[in-house]
């Protein structure tokens, strides 16, 4: 049974713990505190969480770059601790920071990656040409990477990860630092290649919309552990009813207490000037909520009602909001769709 399960599981992490030393006078940093998840073959699995949650550390351990203090991990059915070099043949790795050689051209970067993976010169040349065309780098293919824009270099990073048709591709925050246009193009490419290449993708991101758009399943990571896991739809449907969000004119600690007394509102949380809650029927609960705040002398700047989003899922499981990704991401999402 275990063997069967493993055959269909491309990625499996069990109780990963990793501690970094933080200098002589500081206590060690516990990056991972028993992180576990598994991803089925051929799916895009998202690790969603803020910077410092442990996403990159997880990717480093699974891609053999780092070793866990304890716990176990399998990639493409291979134990990363016992046989790291076999894992390396099966994976493509796109790190958070660029991994291209700036003193080489795109073609040279790709050929080296292919040859190191044991491809013949002929196969590597053909594959490099295919990827260069697909990522729209044809005109710049024979220019040094040091002359590339951030978006072009990022595309080449992903192309490098795909060069040898890996079984598992790691994408560590592939769109961080990209402008909206480049991000939208990248999303488009990731979605397409996940479908075309029949591979498993582990995507880390701190953009909720990115996870929602690209991931088949995702795990919400907070302080080195997985706090929730499921498909984006499952996670959202766990939350009953509508989300109510009220922006106060100025922060007021009494607001939460006032709203908790309003019939039909529950799960009230405060974060600065923002008060969030849930209700089965938003349209009915909002007027008494606003009336109660007004009666208590608390000025309201705005109020919104929304169907549950991943943002709400995140908030519920971690108790804090993920940084708002900003308006341009929504536009990028629309463009990508």
């Amino acid at each position: 049974m275990v063997a069967v399960r493993r055959a269909q599981t491309a990625l499996e992490a069990v109780d990963l713990v990793k501690t970094y030393s933080a200098g002589r006078n500081n206590p060690p940093v516990r990056a991972l505190r028993g992180l576990s998840f598994s991803a089925a073959k051929g799916t895009v699995f998202g690790l969603l969480g803020p910077n410092g949650a442990g996403k990159s550390t997880t990717v480093k351990i699974l891609s053999t770059l780092s070793v866990a203090d304890s716990g176990s991990a399998h990639v493409a059915g291979v134990d990363v601790t016992a046989k790291p070099h076999r894992v390396r043949r099966a994976i493509g790795f796109v790190a958070q920071k660029p991994g291209t050689d700036p003193m080489a051209t795109a073609t040279e970067n790709l050929l080296l990656a292919g040859r190191l993976h044991g491809m013949s010169r002929h196969d590597a040349t053909a594959r490099a040409r295919e990827l260069i065309d697909r990522f729209g780098l044809a005109e710049a293919a024979n220019r040094l990477v040091s002359t590339y824009s951030g978006g072009m270099a990022r595309k080449l990073d992903v192309a490098l990860g795909l060069m040898h048709r890996p079984q598992v591709l790691f994408l560590d925050e592939p769109t961080t630092g990209l402008d909206p246009q480049a991000r939208s193009e990248m999303w488009h490419e990731i979605a397409r290649m996940a479908a075309d290449e029949q591979m498993t993708v582990l995507l880390t991101t701190h953009y909720l919309d990115e996870a929602d758009h690209l991931a088949d399943r995702l795990a919400i990571v907070d302080h080195g552990t997985v706090v929730a896991t499921g498909t984006p739809e499952e996670l959202k449907s766990e939350l009953r009813g509508d989300a109510v969000q009220i922006e106060l004119a100025e922060a007021d600690d009494r607001a939460a207490a006032v709203l908790r007394r309003v019939h039909g509102l529950r799960e009230i949380t405060m974060d600065g000037c923002t008060v969030r809650g849930r209700t089965d029927d938003g349209a009915r609960a909002l007027p008494p909520a606003l009336a109660a705040l007004d009666e208590a002398g608390i000025a309201v700047a705005s109020a919104t009602l929304a169907r549950p989003s991943l943002d709400d899922v995140y908030l519920r499981h971690t108790g804090h909001a993920l940084q708002a990704p900003g308006g341009e991401d929504l536009k990028a999402l629309e463009a990508a769709k």
Binding site: L65, R88, G99, M103, L116
Partner: protein
Amino acid sequence: MTTAHTESTGARPLTLIAHTAFLTGRLMRTLWRTPTFLIVGLVQPVIWLLLFSRLFRSVVDLPGFTHGDGGFLRFLTPGVVMMTALFASAWAGTTYLQDIDRGVMDRLLTSPASRAAMMCATMAHQAIQTVIQSLVIVVIALIAGATFPGGPAGVALTVLAAALLTLIFSALSNAVALLTRQQATLIAISQFTTLPLMFLSSAVMDLQLAPGWVRSVAAYNPVEWAVVAAREAMAAHTDWSVVGTRLGVLAAAVAVMGFLATRAFRAYRKST
């Protein structure tokens, strides 16, 4: 057992050679595009060669200076060749630091490229530069009027000794780079080691004129091994046992340093 061994190193010999060739090719291409360091690295030795050979011309006439045949320029040339090799290879770790900084290192480490190949490639890259620089220095010495009775074979063995010396110290520099990951530390360690190693050898002065303790220390100094092998190979009546033993210990030191430096990748992985 064989399988287990292959598993643990992650590479068969042919793969190791192929990977070393691919990675060396990458570094040579970069050198070809920006040969600045290679050329700038020649300015200092050429100045030493031409200045010192004039300035200290008469030291060969000192009583006790036993290697004075052919003048100070002939004496000094192997010394300058080794100094150049030593100083350049002490900086070899910079390539790793740049790769770490640019993320190239992490990408290579997650690829099937073997650690040994990654180490060999940077060492080979440095050795090739040394071969080029050594030949340029010898040619300049010849133009300046030096004669080398050892002929082309003597020059070839001098270049070989310089290349071996480069392999030792570039491996050391790579290990320091992997362990410290800091340019400042790498520079400090390079400077603290290279100058003493140079002056605790007969690179610029006949050790017969040095205190006894310097001679004792020099016997364990790879720079001295290389200088002695080269000077003997370029002399009129070469004692081949001297050349052979010195090249032998240099080669053994290359193997040991290369192995130890490759182990430094483990420390790098632990702390990543």
